[in-house]
């Protein structure tokens, strides 16, 4: 089902900014369902919502630079029967409005979709205040919150369609840093399910978002050394696909997790918490360990061992050990 194996190396594929898929999906959903509205914090341009605003002038609510109000307003709109897609830079959405996310959305169980734009280190040279590496760990600690980190334009749109059709709180990361397409057009998002985007039994790489294609590229390199890496796409960080993680722990030499997020409490943490409970095995957690220095997102991902080579090296280490 995944399109990978068929079409040559993943690194040669064209790359796309997932925000374009996001705005198209949002406009289509708004067309079909009058309840869909957008809520933004002076982030129309950074969310690429100018066309949406033209098409649905009163259904894009801009509260200005006020994230607490933005999330509270979304909770009120949901109470009024609307389905708000909050669209704001992930760093400000999650850091500035976390208590509103906890109380007004998660604990109140409001049907609000929190869309974290330009997450991870997408803002590159704008630095750690604009990097959103903590968002996943922060939201994972909150009950009643589905956390989705799509890896491609198709998956971004599919996750949005699922979220729009499913009552309850959800957080969706929308990548800015461009990524190749990994899924066929008709891909359907299934919450809490991992996708085996490449099969193998020597070692497992679990990834999502902007790092998934790098994991696939690493697997291609490993194949040349005769190491068959299983690559699990884990778009849903919460609830986690526990069975897929256990199977990986049982069937392969070890697990590498790789994500554009902190090494403390993100996807890596979720996988670690799962394996120690069900089937202890070695897990190498790749992620961002610090307030990053100046550099582009790509430069920084490489710095933190998430180049295809960096991921492949870790995988070789694990494969050798056992």
């Amino acid at each position: 089902m995944p399109a990978t194996s068929t079409q040559g190396s993943i690194v040669d594929r064209p790359r796309f900014d997932c925000r374009n898929a996001y705005v198209k999906a949002l406009a289509d959903l708004a067309q079909e369902d009058h309840r869909i509205v957008g809520v933004v914090n002076d982030s129309i341009g950074s969310s690429k919502l100018d066309a949406f605003k033209k098409a649905f002038p009163d259904r894009l609510i801009n509260v200005g630079i006020a994230e607490q109000d933005m999330v509270g307003v979304a909770a009120g709109l949901a109470n009024g029967g609307r389905i708000p897609f909050v669209s704001a830079a992930s760093c400000f959405l999650t850091a500035r409005a976390l208590e509103q996310i906890k109380a007004d959305i998660a604990y109140s169980n409001r049907n609000v979709k929190l869309c974290g734009m330009s997450p991870g280190m997408a803002y590159g040279e704008l630095g750690p205040t604009h990097h959103s590496i903590e968002d996943i760990a922060w939201l994972r600690a909150i009950d009643n919150m589905t956390i989705i980190v799509p890896a491609s334009p198709v998956e971004t749109a599919a996750a949005m369609r699922w979220a729009a059709a499913t009552d309850g709180p959800a957080f969706i990361r929308v990548s800015r840093m461009s990524v190749p397409e990994i899924y066929p057009e008709d891909y359907e998002f299934v919450p809490g399910k991992a996708i085996t985007v490449r099969d193998g039994n020597d070692v497992t790489i679990i990834s999502n978002g902007t790092v998934l294609w790098r994991a696939l590229a690493a697997a291609e390199q490993l194949a040349e050394d005769g190491i068959n890496a299983r690559v699990l796409s884990m778009p849903t960080v919460k609830p986690l696909d526990v069975d897929a993680v256990i199977a990986a722990a049982q069937e392969t030499a070890g697990i590498i997790t790789a994500e554009e997020a902190t090494i403390a409490g993100g996807l890596g943490g979720a996988v670690a918490e799962t394996v120690v409970k069900h089937h202890p095995t070695r897990v190498e957690i790749l992620g961002v360990p610090e307030f990053a220095p100046t550099g582009s997102a790509a430069f920084l991902l490489d710095r933190y061992g998430m180049s295809p080579e960096g991921i492949a090296d870790k995988a070789r280490g694990l494969a050798r050990q056992n």
Binding site: I61, G72, V73, G76, N79, G80, G81, P84, Y107
Partner: protein, 300 residues
């Protein structure tokens, strides 16, 4: 003695028919408020916890809203066009549950579970547990943004439903309120009414000693609201003002309701110690006597 169903003595009220006179409405509100205070006093005393000071400063406002202003009843809690009320000062859950029970949203006996293990009635309102509650509040400064979202949803629906939100005065130190007020004015949400329980006390001291709000009327006006001041214990003034908003087309309304924490109990009124103190047996009896002997007029 721990809280039991014998302490759930509250009579149940209904809103009066529309054609009722102003005098009838006010008398009805006053009696409801008096009964709500008596019941709430029992809850706090017997449960051994609660925020009775803020409860008693807000009860006349709550009784006016549910008794004669809000277009919502136990049968219409899911009607999209019901009026919305958000209790932003969520720590007065005791007064809120009692008010909801007084108007039939909640079985009176259920009040006996207040704060008990696994009860639906914990220290702050939970919409997923109690019919009629619109938002889970408790952290201060959350209600006003939610109310702005509700008023926006009504504007989008071209509905005439109204949104009321009750905040504390100390609560207005939270910047989230001023973010929301700016947006309410920008979007001309004139069917939004903010009511401030202006008792001039917060948790630890007076508002003035802590971080003064005055001139509150000028602040609200500069943020684009039509400002009205009322005696927050005068049911007539509350009824007249809350039932006749908006005052300025295109402007949301800001009602400064002057109140006393602990009103009308002699030893509680305007005493910061009663933010969350629990009455002793003697204090309980005295408060009960004062309430039972008090005339069912305006609560003043």
């Amino acid at each position: 003695m721990p809280l039991t169903t014998e302490h759930a003595t509250l009579p149940v009220f209904k809103q009066l028919p529309p054609h009722s006179s102003r005098g009838q409405q006010i008398a009805h509100i006053a009696e409801a408020a008096r009964q709500i205070r008596i019941q709430d006093l029992k809850l706090v005393h017997h449960a051994g916890a609660g925020h009775i000071g803020g409860d008693f400063s807000a009860i006349d406002i709550l009784a006016t809203l549910y008794g004669a202003v809000l277009n919502v009843s136990p049968d219409t809690v899911d009607d999209p066009d019901r009026d919305r009320f958000i209790l932003s000062k969520g720590h007065v859950a005791g007064a809120y549950y009692t008010t909801l029970a007084a108007f039939g949203f909640l079985p009176v006996e259920e009040l006996a579970t207040f704060l008990k293990p696994l009860s639906a009635l914990n220290g702050h309102p939970n919409r997923n547990k109690v019919k009629g509650i619109e938002a889970n509040t408790g952290p201060l400064g959350h209600g006003l943004p939610i109310a702005v979202g509700l008023a926006l949803s009504a504007q989008l629906d071209v509905s005439r439903r109204r949104t009321y939100v009750l905040t504390g005065d100390g609560e207005l130190q939270e910047g989230s309120n001023w973010e929301a007020m700016m947006a309410a004015s920008q979007y001309e949400l004139d069917r939004l009414t903010v009511i401030v329980d202006r008792n001039r006390l917060q948790q630890g001291a007076t508002v003035r000693q802590t971080n003064d709000l005055d001139p509150l009327d000028a602040k609200a006006a500069a943020f684009g609201f039509a400002v009205v001041e009322v005696n927050g214990h005068d049911h007539g003034e509350l009824y007249d003002v809350l039932s006749s908003v908006p005052f300025r087309p295109g402007k949301p309304t800001f009602v400064i309701a002057h109140t006393h924490k602990g009103h009308p109990i002699s030893y509680m009124s305007n005493n910061v110690a009663w933010h969350h103190r629990v009455p002793s047996a003697a204090e309980y009896q005295q408060a009960l006597d004062e309430l039972e002997s008090s005339p069912t007029t305006t609560g003043n």
